[in-house]
């Protein structure tokens, strides 16, 4: 078994926290759909969890992108899928700020009265829905970037790579 590097840990922690953020977003959406005095505290907790997870994913992904991505980028650009960087990564790295802003905003909405105010409930559900949707797109983009590096290695001519 090969050694697990700090780069590996950060690389896999980034989408893991993203998935936790998606799950928390779904949690907020479902609870807000059935908002009542009984689940107001849970909605607030779920929205805080969503903000914390998405922020953690941003910090971890950003650290890896700034410090380690340059090597993978060089490999992708020399491989058969250069668009995995030029289109997918370039879009993903900027798209990420959208769910980040929405996740920071979500607790400010859910601290309001979701039971008596329909616009507040609709806003909480809309923001949670957009966080989930954009994060799913970003998770898919991450998989494509990873595949871009993988196909580049497969076509690198390394012994055994083609089989």
């Amino acid at each position: 078994m090969g050694a697990l590097t700090l780069s590996d840990v950060i690389l896999y922690a980034h989408p893991t926290f993203g998935v936790f953020g998606i799950l928390a977003g779904v949690w907020v959406f479902v609870e807000a759909l059935n908002a009542s005095a009984a689940n107001a505290k849970r909605i607030w907790i779920a929205s805080i969890a969503c903000a914390v997870f998405i922020t953690a994913s941003w910090v971890l992904g950003g650290y890896w992108y700034v410090n380690y991505y340059y090597a993978e980028k060089a490999v992708i650009l020399k491989g058969p899928w250069p668009w995995a960087h030029n289109l997918v990564m370039e879009t993903k790295e900027h798209l990420f700020f959208i769910p980040l802003v929405l996740a920071l905003y979500l607790p400010l909405v859910t601290r309001g009265d979701l039971v008596r105010s329909m616009p507040t409930r609709v806003m909480a559900m809309a923001v949670a829905f957009m966080i989930v949707g954009s994060c799913l797109v970003i998770e898919g983009a991450g998989a494509l970037i990873n595949a871009g590096a993988k196909v580049a290695f497969i076509h690198s001519g390394a012994k055994g790579a083609e089989k």
């Binding site: 289109l87 980040l100 920071l104 309001g112």
Partner: protein, 120 residues
């Protein structure tokens, strides 16, 4: 009036009351700020991608253009939200106006980013 009609009328009255209670002032202010921040994010991505001196300046500011970009977007959200929340002005009258504004901003910003890197 049948029982069904009475129930429906009561439900509609309750729904109208729920609609009358809008987003609170802070949520409205930061909702507008979120819409501005996501559009600013896309605009900044376009400009720095097209204008290298800005990209280089952002890279020098915090060590990497992406780090500066992210901090700038979050600061726009926090500062604009704080300023609007301190203002006593009633920015948007419609109860669902901020919801529509934020949804439209997110869709435009997302498509704007994907479209830019697809075409450029």
């Amino acid at each position: 009036m049948t029982n069904t009609e009475i129930g429906r009328a009561a439900g509609m009255a309750a729904r109208t009351k729920e609609d009358e209670v809008g987003l609170d002032h802070t949520a409205t202010a930061y909702g507008i700020a979120a819409a501005i921040a996501v559009l600013f994010n896309t605009l900044l991505a376009w400009v720095k991608d097209a204008y290298d001196p800005l990209n280089n300046a952002m890279a020098k500011t915090l060590g990497h253009h992406w780090t500066t970009h992210g901090v700038a977007v979050v600061l726009v959200f926090l500062i604009v939200g704080f300023v609007l929340s301190r203002s006593s002005a009633d920015w948007i009258k419609s109860p669902y106006g901020v919801v529509y504004m934020l949804c439209a901003a997110v869709v435009m910003a997302g498509l704007g980013l994907a479209g830019w890197f697809l075409l450029v």
